[in-house]
Symmetry: C2
Subunit: 407 residues, 2 copies
């Protein structure tokens, strides 16, 4: 099977890994929708705030009653009542009149602006002087200033932040339709891998990838399903993959950095029903020996066994896949510029993801390359982010400005 | 009480809001520690990987057996065995000898490097030619390359990411000591505020702040405790605050943008036992009418009622307080440079937090100011981030590079 595949660039790999269907959606309580992805467009069914609202403590007036008013020539207005918070008042304000109002209060009919209390002087219980003119609409929020009925406020695919929840709260939506969180099975493979509560014998290592990958799935908004460790054995691996595919939207299999182990993964994929290998090898470093298959419409990633490689491939590829199947609209990736602290050689023919630590020196943000083999977890612990170095770049000089994507 | 206070700058407000004790800590399962804050230093109790490990498929050799080897003058080595994955082999490699090994395998004693299989030619079942020399330690990870026993790997106050969980997994720590998540009570006040499942009458508004603030608490790593809506009534507010202080580490009270409502908050604070107002007024826009008190060692924030103001104050002040009491070490804030799309006037005497939308135009990231009063939730929904404009800055010109902190 493998001879039909050649190494593809990251862009191609991303395109193939995002050609999967989105997960289903369902209704959740608004209070638990933080960070979820909206599954429908949100159109306003009302105006908000729905009434003319004061943004100041003061007096509701007809603006024109104050035109020309100043410290030396104040306007004299008759107080005709007070607005209680949360109530619509029966008071009507005519020219030459004013009604007491607090911040957030409903501006009474007839009034079209609010004079701040600081710009008034009480004359007696029923009269004030206004010492500064207000324009119509000054210090008020109009009934549809926040939201106009019928307008589209949010579209399907929006990742919900606190403010979006606030908008739904304002609209009275106590339940909303969001995409399900993708369920992601995580399988570790390798005869040398032991559970973390076992003391490894010489030649054995503890199962790190299950923890790093599950946590990355969680961070990406998915639900990780750790499936334990499977030895390098065709039958056991096949049955573990079958079980994983039954409950998961996506399967991550890590381990098998040896050619034999990768071949075993490919054999298992071939034996799974309705499977098609989409890529085998990506022109990135670290992470070249990455496999992606479509198994009955679900994505199956074979990730490198080296812990840092698996994490980088998750970050640059799997994460984009999960964003896509989770229904999220793609947004521009935000990178932070920093000064490279030393020369870095590029990697011929591959896009290089350099791990860097960020440190402020002399008031400038510096990107300090973290050196070390991709089998070392410490290289990821020491890193704050990744710098992408294109395959056509010959290397970077100390002092160059690089763009850092945080990890 | 209020006459003793004057408006302070944000730096002073931050210093006062971080002068609170940290919350307690406890042990949690490693798999649920993602995003938590480490409550102890982590020192390595072992070397990792603990044995010399191959990073390639090939042959374990004494490097010096290959010195001078080339395509035209290959070195001839005798195969003395194979290394099985996950096992320490009885094989010993002497000069002139080689042992088959896979990526991740344990390098047998005597060998100090691995020759990649691509740089070998099989001659017969027991002999290979090596066509490229390797240096000692080439293609191997030394026993303490990842972690050296006794070294300090992580310090108290580290916010744990997937890679830190991976490090603990490698060390066999299935439980770790982390700070508790701060419990944050959220109280909405105002006679005009109604629950979100109630249709507001004219003059009433739905309770937006409970949702935005609870979600921001969650994002900041805390546990929100929504306490509902309390009218502008001394007794009811006092008893709500007492109840909140019993179960929470920090209390957020929002609403009361009118002077009277703020005075009510101050009266309630005065009536609470062991309370001390630490600040009343911060020189920021939006968010000036912010109150902070110490009530029996717990922080009590009085936030502005305007929804966008409350969110900005959370972002620039409360978040820092929560990071501090959660035990997290402060890290440099990472801001993204963008091109300002229009002139912006500054605000005299106050640090101004301009809401901006980020948009890529002509390949450049643009920061587009989101205009609108701070009572409008839409201004936060439209915003991707905040730009801080110092109180001494006279305004910013279109085209200026601004630094955006994402929301």
């Amino acid at each position: 099977m493998k001879e039909f595949f050649k190494v593809v660039d990251l862009e191609t790999a991303r395109a193939r890994s995002t050609a999967f269907d989105q997960v289903a959606s369902g209704r959740v309580a608004l209070a638990s929708a933080n960070g979820r992805v909206l599954a429908c467009d949100c159109t306003a069914n009302v105006d908000l705030p729905g009434f003319r609202r004061s943004t100041m403590d003061g007096y509701a007036v007809c603006a024109k009653s104050t035109f020309g008013a100043s410290e030396s020539a104040p306007a004299l207005l008759a107080i005709v009542g007070s607005v209680e918070m949360g109530e619509s008042t029966g008071v009507r304000v005519a020219p030459g009149q004013a009604a007491r109002i607090l911040t957030g209060g409903m501006v009474p009919s007839g009034a079209d602006a609010v004079v701040m209390v600081e710009h008034t002087e009480p004359i007696d219980d029923v009269t004030i002087e206004v010492t500064r003119a207000v324009a119509p609409r000054q210090n008020v929020i109009e009934p549809d200033d926040d939201v106009a009925r019928g307008s589209t406020l949010l579209s399907r695919g929006t990742r919900l932040r606190p403010q979006e929840l606030g908008l739904f709260a304002a609209l009275g939506s106590s339940e909303i339709e969001v995409f399900n969180r993708p369920v992601v099975a995580v399988i570790s493979t390798g005869d040398e891998v032991v559970p973390i509560d076992v003391a490894p014998s010489p030649g054995e290592v503890r199962d790190v990838n299950s923890f790093t990958l599950a946590a990355m799935v969680e961070r990406a908004g998915g639900i990780p399903r750790p499936c334990g460790i499977v030895g390098d054995d065709f039958d056991r691996l096949l049955s573990a993959c079958r079980a994983a595919l039954e409950e998961a939207d996506t399967v991550l299999l890590s381990g098998g950095s040896s050619v034999g182990a990768r071949d075993l993964t490919l054999e298992v994929l071939e034996a799974l029903p309705d499977s098609r290998v989409l890529l085998h090898g990506v022109a990135i470093k670290p992470g070249k020996p990455t496999i992606l298959a479509d198994v009955g419409g679900r994505a199956f990633f074979g990730l490198p066994g080296h812990v840092a490689s698996a994490m980088v491939v998750f970050h640059v590829l799997v994460r984009h896949h999960l964003e896509h199947i989770a229904g999220a609209r793609s947004k521009p990736v935000l990178r932070i510029p920093a000064r490279l602290s030393r020369n870095v050689a590029s990697v011929h023919g591959r896009q290089y993801f350099l791990r860097v630590r960020l440190e402020v020196r002399d008031g400038r943000l510096n990107a300090i390359p973290v050196l070390g083999k991709s089998g070392l977890i410490r290289t990821m612990v020491d890193a704050d982010g990744l710098v992408e170095i294109g395959r056509d770049i010959e290397g970077l000089q100390v002092g160059a400005t690089v763009l850092v994507e945080t990890l």
